[in-house]
């Protein structure tokens, strides 16, 4: 049983209310931070903790904080990214819904560290009821002196506002999120300048994911050094994983990053294996945009070593034979699932969510969707597979924001690892409409050279 830092109290009855949360030791980090620590010292603690951004990119949070510009007389802002929209990811929703005060607590400490007197939570529009939960939590915190003017008599003022989006995956990209916060279309900005220099309303801004900011609470409570002892290597602390797809126990699990993928997938403590005695075919371990892996590369790396649920191990082998931790959306596909259909569904998603600003993404995502639809319907040509490969390579790296990469990688990985399934859709077009390519050889052990 791994250590829990975020969700330990999530199921205490009534934890959503201030009274219970406080009774369970909540808001201790605010008292400690505001009364005994300087903002710089908090940034130091977060740096020491090795905390990496939990939104997907895994950028060290303390380092990101240290980049914020501090020009004289210009307000700074902290913005919490709660625009959780990556298919397969629903961990932030869980945290905000069950233990909203943890996020508020993390936000107060982080706002103090960054000097933000007006902090915003940008929540995706669909999470309408969570907006109410958060606003309730904010009001309670304010009524108890943890928000507003002169917090705990320390002279620090801070307000937190919830800003609800309205249906756009792209607003999870930090500059699109800032545009949206400013009441504009969610078109990502061209960088530089980076938000740390010129963000919301031209002011220095830090945008962090919900889980990242909630993790500041245990970091302050335990101290950065102790936090860093949890986990392994550069994957410190605990990570929320939202598991879904063909598993017995879909849900959100807090793991310390030392457990193996196999344990996570099959143990009853976590996913509980695959229903109906089916076999594992593939898995997208970090949200829909990270590369899909066939069963034989998921549980073991190409070198034949056990793969673990952490940043380094999941990306072991690069894109050739590895994937990414991403946002922690663990999507499992059993032997009855069709990779072509799954890839088509994701391509449709990215086409729908492209903002349309830059040409490779606007045009390329639609093209890939059409080709995949054709292949899935058994009307494709074998040259379509090469064409898809070429299109994704022309999108990747050439767009304004990472959505282009996010759209390209799933297609690339599906072709890389499941090319014969795509070809089967061409050569056995009619059969592919009624039956499935199945598990094929995707779970066969990979020969590991001994040299």
């Amino acid at each position: 049983m791994g250590r829990k830092l975020l969700l330990e109290k999530a199921h205490v009855p009534g934890i959503r209310s201030y009274e219970v949360y406080r009774r369970e030791g909540g808001y201790a980090s605010v008292e400690k931070a505001l009364k005994t620590m300087s903002p710089e010292a908090i940034v130091e603690e977060v740096k020491k903790s090795g905390l990496r951004g939990r939104g997907g990119a895994g950028f060290p949070a303390g380092l990101k904080w240290s980049f914020i510009a501090k020009p004289e007389g210009v307000p700074r802002h902290l913005v919490c990214n709660a625009d959780e929209s990556e298919p397969g990811t629903f961990k932030d929703r869980y945290l905000m819904e069950f233990i909203p005060h943890l996020l508020i607590e993390g936000l107060i400490v982080s706002s103090y560290a960054l000097g933000s007197h007006a902090t915003y939570i940008y929540i995706r529009g669909e999470y309408a009821w969570i907006t109410d939960i958060l606003e309730q939590a904010i009001n309670e915190a304010k009524a108890n002196g943890f928000l507003g003017k002169n917090i705990l008599g320390t002279g620090f003022d801070c307000e937190i506002y919830v800003h609800r989006g309205a249906g756009a995956y792209i607003c999870g990209e930090e500059t699109a999120l800032i545009e949206s916060l400013e009441g504009k279309r969610g078109n990502p900005r061209i960088k530089p300048p980076f938000p740390a220099i010129k963000g919301a309303w031209g002011r220095p801004t830090v945008v962090n994911n919900v889980e990242t900011l909630a993790s500041v609470v245990p970091i302050i409570n335990l101290g950065g050094e102790e936090y860093a002892t949890i986990g392994v290597g550069k994957s410190t602390g605990t990570k929320l994983i939202s598991a879904c797809g063909n598993i017995n126990k879909p849900g959100v699990y807090e793991i310390d990053m030392t457990i193996s993928v196999e344990e996570f997938l099959y143990s009853d403590e976590y996913c509980g294996g695959i229903p109906n005695g089916k076999k594992l075919k593939a898995c997208i371990p970090g949200g829909s945009s990270v590369p899909i892996l066939p069963a034989n590369l998921l549980l073991k790396t190409a070198k034949g070593e056990t793969r673990y649920m952490n940043y380094e191990s999941l990306s072991d082998g690069g894109f050739a034979s590895g994937s990414m931790m991403g946002s922690g959306g663990f999507i499992v596909l059993d032997e009855d699932q069709c990779i072509v259909r799954n890839t088509y569904s994701l391509a449709r998603f990215y086409r729908h969510e492209s903002c349309g600003q830059c040409s490779p993404c606007r045009e390329g995502t639609g093209w890939m969707e059409k080709l995949l639809y054709r292949l899935e319907k058994g009307e494709g040509k074998s040259s379509d597979i090469d064409l898809l490969w070429d299109i994704q390579s022309k999108i990747e790296g050439n767009t304004i924001c990472p959505l282009g990469d996010a759209a390209a990688w799933p297609v690339a990985a599906a072709i890389r690892h499941f090319r014969d399934e795509f070809e089967w859709h061409v050569t056995h077009a009619a059969e592919a409409q009624t039956s499935n390519f199945g598990l094929a050889h995707y779970a066969d052990p990979i020969h590991v050279p001994t040299v």
């Binding site: 929209s85 298919p87 849900g251």
Partner: protein, 166 residues
Amino acid sequence: MVQFSEEKLAKVKELIERYPEGKQKSALLPLLHLAQDSFGGWLSSDTMDYVASLLSIEPIEVYEVATFYSMYNTKPIGKYMFEVCQTGPCMLNGSDNIIEYISKTLGIKPGETTADGLFTLKTVECLGACGYAPLMQLGKHYREHLTKEKVDEIIAECSNTAAANN
């Protein structure tokens, strides 16, 4: 003529004050939500012009935003809108069958509204609740782990509520 009530105008003021002075445009998204909820579940060009006037911005700035985000309806919708998720993980759990079932039961295709104006069926992309798949959004809340039986219940529940309110 669209016009918020006094109470809602106070809310508008409170929303605008959340953002820095002179940056009132930032309140556009929340105001559009408020307007959509207040004026029949969709945004007519009159409604959007009204919102523009409240924020002292050009109407086109509102149109641009309203058409960008998928949750703003720029055409009238039914009283109950079933927004069924169809992306990856939901698809793995049979969302296509659910969409087909709703479509058959209500006699409408995705994007259409029933003749009595009661139901609109819409397919949407990832709702961020993949572990509870298949699911749909109905108003403010999600209806999760959908089955055909559950869909029947939801349709009955909506029909009954609508009948009771008439």
